[in-house]
């Protein structure tokens, strides 16, 4: 009886999981071995041809390169800033609530809105160039999103600004979970601020750091909306990312099979990275298992 009730309560979620997650995921695996035009509905089994073609497609390698660059270039900064901000707003400072809310606001703002605002900021006559000129810094000739050298970097900077607040909140939660006694004991033994940070705070933050890096890696590999709104992959494919490639192939060229293959390659890349991170951070040890 007890089990029945449990299952009954879980049923809505299980159903959603099966119908909307598990089935599509498996179905797209099947699709990745087919030539499937979504419009006419024709499905033709073509084995691993999609994957072979993918590895020969220069756009795929560009997308992979750009996406990896995005991931490697944003995560350390986001994590670092989030940690610093969390430690800062965890102090007893005036207007603490205001700061916390302020840093968090970008994360709850619609991505599309942020992207549109930043498109204007990054424009040739936008505020960012205005500020740069004010202090005498060089500005790119074409506007930040329109030069192949600065487009991806600009989007990365925006992404760091946007996601830091959310991870700050996670770190803040972890910080507040550290028992106050440890700090009191440290004080008794005369530990300095840095010693406390290094020996008490950071070790306790390890599981949360892993979580932050992991979630952020997965999220960053899937970057799409910013690209869709701001650059559509250009200029000269300099902001073409994996998910944008999937979208272009699936919905503009109707090559669902090829798009699925690309999505699966991305899936395995994310999986491998997640496993490596889990190993590196030795999460089990950190949380005392």
């Amino acid at each position: 009886m007890k089990h029945k009730t449990t299952i009954l309560f879980l049923l809505p979620w299980i159903l959603i999981l099966l119908v909307f997650w598990l089935f599509p995921i498996l179905y797209s695996l099947v699709l990745s071995f087919t030539k499937y035009s979504i419009l006419s509905g024709e499905i033709k089994w073509i084995g691993i041809s999609n994957y072979l073609e993918l590895f020969k497609d220069p756009d795929f390698w560009t997308a992979l390169k750009n996406t990896s660059f995005f991931v490697v270039g944003t995560i350390p900064f986001t994590t670092f800033f989030a940690l610093i901000l969390a430690v800062l707003v965890n102090q007893k400072i005036p207007l603490k609530g205001l700061f916390r809310a302020g840093f968090f606001i970008p994360s709850i703002t619609s991505m599309v809105v942020v992207a549109l605002i930043f498109t204007n900021l990054y424009a040739k006559d936008g505020y960012i160039n205005f500020l740069f000129q004010l202090v005498g810094l060089p500005t790119p000739e074409k506007g930040w999103l329109l030069s192949e050298k600065t487009a991806l970097l600009s989007i990365m900077a925006m992404d760091i600004w946007m996601s830091t607040g959310f991870y700050m909140l996670l770190f803040l939660a972890a910080l507040q979970a550290i028992p106050e006694e440890l700090y009191k004991v440290s004080d008794v033994f005369g530990a300095s601020f840095w010693q406390k940070l290094w020996h008490v705070t950071l070790p306790h933050l390890r599981p949360m750091t892993l979580f932050v890096v992991l979630i952020n890696t997965i999220k960053s590999f899937q970057i799409f909306v910013e690209i869709f709104v701001m650059t559509k992959g250009g200029p000269l494919n300099s902001t073409l990312t994996m998910v944008y490639l999937v979208y272009e192939q699936g919905f503009h060229k109707f090559r669902m099979g090829y798009a699925s293959a690309c999505a699966y390659v991305l899936f395995f890349i994310i999986l491998i990275f997640s496993l490596i991170q889990l190993k590196l951070f030795r999460v089990g040890k950190a949380i005392g298992e």
Partner: protein, 413 residues
């Protein structure tokens, strides 16, 4: 992955609920036509509703159910609807989408009826695929040159004499561009996909360039005409500002751009929100005084019928009613800039009394459509890539077009 997941969710949702739509199809002995359309503007929407009401009054046995789509995700919704067999009876499609759908065999072949009314309407090319017709031109728009009269005066050019040849256009752009950073000569579209080609091809066509041979077996883009056009376009781009369409339109309204190739939406926007802007319109210039033509790109809204519709006769009736000049004009007046597809719409007082709109009509009469080829999306991308590489100094115009030809030839095999 996440997006793909969403996509599949959509597919499945529509699969699950596909049965429900069918059962509602006939209420009270009436035939229900489902019509998906993109006019959501609060000024235009009531007008289309009233046109539909009139239609229902004339045809009491038919009931039309309108569904609104948006340009940002309408394409996806239509694709998903077709793949899940829940597409409506009648749909509005952008002209550049029609070949994608007609070549996949999901649209009803309307050649027999279309032949009867063909001469009364223009721009059938996008709706034609392998000599069969799959859609009806409804509301059209073209790209035309907007220029700023104040900037012309500032560099001592006669603002009432817009450029007529490529040489003049380039010269004027150069003069205005000398004012930079206060103002730029030409507003050049950046890499935006599905948009850049509409800006380069008017010059290409003006110079009598052809993308494909008549039998669509060979790509002719790297002909001397084509190369000339791209060389000129590159010069033009160098005398101006590269940005996205949205930003360029914005900059034009801020008196920062001398010449801009844009569409009816900009005219409407200026009239409504910037009535003080001192601007003029002119046709896309000819290469030389007696060489080439004033060709431009034309796009527009097409009405198509789902191949699986149960009521093809009624669907055609609805379309016939919608594309009628009077009904179309009512809509166009609300839209403020578009043109009906009826060939004699130009004679209407509405256009004859308004020189700017009339010029749009004249430009519309001289447009060329991209080849209606099922692989046009791919060709479009290849062409845009070539133009982009030239704009960003990665390749010379000749190299870029030679390469584009090779790639397009591969597609044609």
């Amino acid at each position: 992955m996440r997006n793909l997941r969403i996509i599949f969710c959509l597919v499945i949702v529509s699969l699950v609920f596909s049965g429900c739509g069918e059962s509602q199809r006939e209420t009270k002995g009436k035939i229900t036509l489902h019509f998906w359309q993109f006019w959501t503007d609060p000024e235009v929407k009531p007008q289309i509703e009233s046109v539909i009401k009139e239609f229902e009054k004339e045809n009491p046995e038919i009931e039309v159910k309108l569904t609104d789509l948006t340009w940002s995700d309408g394409h996806e919704k239509i694709v998903v609807a077709f793949s899940s067999k829940t597409a409506p009876d009648v749909l509005e499609l952008g002209s550049d989408w029609v070949p994608e759908f007609s070549s996949q065999g999901v649209l009803l072949d309307v050649t027999d009826f279309a032949e009867k009314i063909k001469s009364d309407y223009m721009m059938w090319e996008p709706a034609t695929y392998q000599e069969r017709i799959y859609g009806f031109p409804w509301i059209l728009d073209t790209r035309i040159i907007f220029y700023n009269k104040d900037l012309m005066s500032r560099v001592e050019l006669d603002p009432e004499k817009p450029p007529e040849t490529w040489g003049e256009l380039l010269d004027y752009c150069q003069k205005i561009n000398a004012l930079k950073p206060e103002a730029y000569g030409f507003g050049a579209n950046s890499f935006e996909r599905h948009r850049l080609y509409k800006k380069f091809l008017p010059f290409f066509w003006s110079n009598n360039g052809k993308i494909l041979s008549d039998d669509q077996k060979e790509c002719l883009i790297n002909s001397e005409e084509g190369k000339e056009a791209l060389r000129f376009y590159k010069k033009l781009v160098d005398q101006g500002l590269i940005d996205t369409q949205r930003m360029l339109d914005e900059q034009f309204k801020n008196i920062k751009i001398g010449f801009l190739l844009s569409g009816g939406w900009l005219l409407h926007d200026i009239r409504k929100n910037h009535p003080d802007l001192n601007f003029g319109l002119c046709l896309v210039p000819q290469p030389e005084k007696d060489k080439g033509q004033n060709a431009s790109f034309a796009g527009g809204e097409y009405l198509v019928i789902n191949q699986k519709t149960k009521n093809p006769k009624e669907a055609i009736k609805l379309i016939e009613f919608l594309i009628k000049k009077e009904n179309c004009l009512k809509l166009c007046k609300k839209i403020g800039s578009a043109s009906p597809s009826a060939t004699d719409a130009i004679e209407d007082q509405y256009y004859q009394q308004d020189p700017d709109l009339l010029l749009f009509q004249h430009q519309l009469q001289q447009t060329v459509s991209p080849p209606a080829h099922p692989k046009w999306v791919y060709m479009e991308e290849i062409i845009e890539k070539a133009v982009e590489e030239v704009m960003y100094d990665k390749k010379t115009p000749d190299e870029a077009l030679d390469e584009a030809k090779e790639k397009i030839d591969d597609l044609l095999k």
